[in-house]
């Protein structure tokens, strides 16, 4: 057990999983260095990978960059939360009422097809110079994938299951909470994962136009000063932030929609069974033995 990692992967399996992307990274860096060596790309445009790594290290060691990371992270997370909340709040009534759907859908689509970069300066003029304008831009970009996926999830709930709920006399509330919500969660989470990444894009777009701090500000500053390795290092930070947000949603999905992941389902079943067995043992009437699990599903 000790040789297995926390998430259940042995070092051998982990290595097997990691070598393809690592090999691709090595090939990419080799190609990159080759392009620089033969002067196909100028160093002022594309710095050496090692320079970017050094810049990255130096920047995270410095004190000032953390304020910028904090600002961008806050704008992204708050924008995502607002966009997702609005998306869900409008998707639920739209999913339940055809009239609401007809009323809202054209505007949701219109918002989606409007290039958000074009309205960003207007949002800043409207919402002010502080964090709020960036949060709103991030929210507007994050809104659509959540709205459309949540709506699709609600509308594609299994008809047979719906019929069964009806025949068992379930109320609308019971049907909503016990069938529609769990049924739509997988699709909804796909939208939330997309929105998490997009909210970061929105925050950086806002920072490009008007901000005192943030990683978008740093990219611009470094770029105009020809500190290109630093600019790439900040882009790397943005990538890690995006991965962090995506990873958080992935984790939330695995935790919430556990029935889609066999290993989690088994673990949950085992936990429940162990708990039940303990309870019974405390009551004193049931012989201890291996708890029934769903391990056979594996």
């Amino acid at each position: 057990m000790g040789r297995r990692l926390a998430h259940g992967l042995s070092p051998v399996r982990l290595a097997k999983r990691l070598w393809p992307p690592l090999l691709f990274l090595v090939l990419l860096i080799a190609l990159w260095e080759f392009a620089l060596a033969i002067d196909y790309v100028d160093e002022t445009i594309l710095p050496h990978p090692k320079d970017i790594v050094v810049s990255f290290y130096e920047l995270i060691q410095s004190s000032f960059v953390w304020d910028d990371i904090g600002a961008t992270l806050w704008e992204s997370v708050a924008g995502f939360a607002l966009g997702a909340a609005l998306g869900l709040a409008l998707a639920i009534p739209s999913g339940l009422s055809p009239v609401m759907r007809q009323m809202l859908n054209p505007y949701a689509v219109a918002l989606q097809v409007t290039p958000r970069i074009a309205i960003a300066p207007l949002i800043i003029a409207w919402a002010g110079f502080g964090y709020n304008s960036k949060i709103w831009i991030a929210a507007i970009i994050a809104f659509f994938p959540v709205y459309v996926n949540a709506l699709t999830g609600i509308l594609t709930v299994d008809e047979d299951a719906r019929e069964m709920f009806r025949s068992l006399g379930a109320s609308r509330w019971q049907t909503f909470t016990h069938l529609m919500v769990p049924g739509s969660l997988p699709v909804m989470f796909a939208g939330l994962k997309t929105a998490a990444g997009l909210s970061l894009v929105g925050a950086v777009v806002g920072e490009f136009i008007s901000a005192e701090r943030g990683l978008g500000v740093l990219v611009q500053q470094f770029s105009s000063q020809l500190a290109i390795a630093d600019a790439f290092a900040v882009i790397l930070m943005l990538m890690f932030l995006g991965l962090l947000l995506y990873g958080a949603m992935e984790w939330l999905e695995r935790t919430t929609v556990f029935w889609l992941h066999d290993a989690r389902l088994v673990a949950r079943s085992k936990r429940r069974a162990a708990k039940a067995q303990k309870k019974l043992a405390r009551a004193g009437g049931v012989p201890s033995g291996p708890a029934p699990t769903l391990a056979g599903r594996q």
């Binding site: 003029a125 005192e212 500053q221």
Partner: protein
């Protein structure tokens, strides 16, 4: 138990409350102003950059306590060139705004009441450059070439410069190449552009990184003030005391830059360390900022100069940005009533404060 519809309504109401809660920007921004905490007066001012050595007086005034001394608490509201600086005054997002001369003239020609009360840079921050080894010697030489632009907004400045020298703007091809120093250097190197219209800070960053450039901006255009401060008459009446306080602190700090570069560098390194990641660019930017803020008359820092504004207006007319009939009365666009008051402080005292900071830190 709540009904199904009630739960949905509550959910929607909660979301709307959250959204509305985000509407007000309490942390910064907003032209509310007024009396801040501790008796200090707030003032929201708009700059075209985030905190930067290019506008070193803001950094120095804060660090040396000049704002506090004047009982003011200014809040920076930075916005890129994409948004008109005068628009922020009109919609109340800022109390005062460092705009461009042409923005103010344009706003007034369209019925606005924007007034310039302070002009910290007596040199144009915009200009046109060519590579050092280029055959182009002056603005007339760009005829028939391709000129790179910092942004689409630079078109009218280029047009005005060409018109002033009798060159047909149609004979010049343009391309927006942005402000990335690396990209501008590359487009020059590849011969994609033969000249570049941009900001002095971009030119110095390039020069500091071994991209030798030659400035061919016509003298008339180069003399136009960069970033004068605009305000609406109503705001000036209402917040005159706060505006005077901020400008007094600003002029003190601007003076420090003219007499003690070392202190300004020390403060800039502390306040905006990101600008010093590339040492050469940082040094060049600070030198440029100090040079741009050299006043015509050291006793009247920030003076507004009527002749320069008349030149700027003629430029706009020649570029076709405004019609001859739309010309404004320049004297009405300028208000130098604050200049004396904001320069009325002891130079020696300020210099001593800077010395003390330098020795104490």
């Amino acid at each position: 138990m709540l009904s199904f519809k009630a739960v949905l309504a509550l959910l929607a109401a909660a979301i709307l409350a959250l959204a509305v809660g985000c509407g007000d920007d309490d942390d910064d921004g907003g032209g509310g102003g007024g009396d801040g905490g501790g008796g200090t007066q707030e003032l929201v001012y708009n700059l075209p950059t985030p905190p930067s050595a290019l506008f070193y007086p803001a950094l120095v005034a804060e660090e040396l306590g000049f704002f506090e001394e004047e009982g003011v608490s200014p809040k920076l509201a930075p916005a890129a060139e994409e948004i008109s600086a005068t628009a922020f005054l009109s919609n109340g997002d800022a109390d005062v705004s460092f705009a461009d001369v042409d923005e103010i003239i344009l706003a007034r020609s369209q019925g606005g009441e924007h007034t310039a009360i302070f002009s910290p840079q007596h040199t144009n921050t915009a200009g046109i450059v060519v590579p050092e080894e280029s055959d182009i010697q002056d603005i007339s030489g760009v005829e028939g070439t391709k000129v790179g632009l910092e942004s689409e907004e630079s078109t009218r400045f280029l047009t005005a410069m060409l018109e002033s020298e009798g060159v047909d703007p149609e004979s010049v091809e343009t391309a927006v190449v942005g402000t990335s120093g690396a990209l501008v250097a590359k487009t020059f190197e590849d011969g994609e552009i033969q000249a570049y219209v941009g900001n002095a800070s971009d030119f110095t960053a390039l020069s500091a990184n071994n991209v030798a450039l030659r400035n061919i901006t016509p003298d008339e255009a180069a003399a136009i003030d960069g970033n004068p401060m605009a305000v609406l008459p109503g705001t000036l009446d209402e917040k005159r005391e706060a505006i005077v306080g901020v400008l007094r602190a600003w002029t003190k700090a601007q003076h420090v830059g003219q007499v003690n570069r070392e202190v300004v560098e020390e403060i800039a390194r502390k306040k905006v360390p990101a600008e010093w990641r590339n040492e050469a660019s940082g040094e060049a930017a600070l030198d440029l900022a100090i040079d741009l803020m050299k006043p015509d008359d050291p006793e009247r820092i920030g003076d507004v100069r009527e002749d320069v504004w008349n030149t700027a207006q003629d430029f706009l007319v020649s570029a076709g940005v405004i019609e001859e009939g739309q010309k404004i009365e320049i004297t009405e666009a300028l208000d130098d009533s604050l200049i004396e008051e904001i320069n009325d402080w002891d130079r020696a005292e300020v210099e001593a404060a800077a010395e003390e900071y330098s020795g104490g830190s």
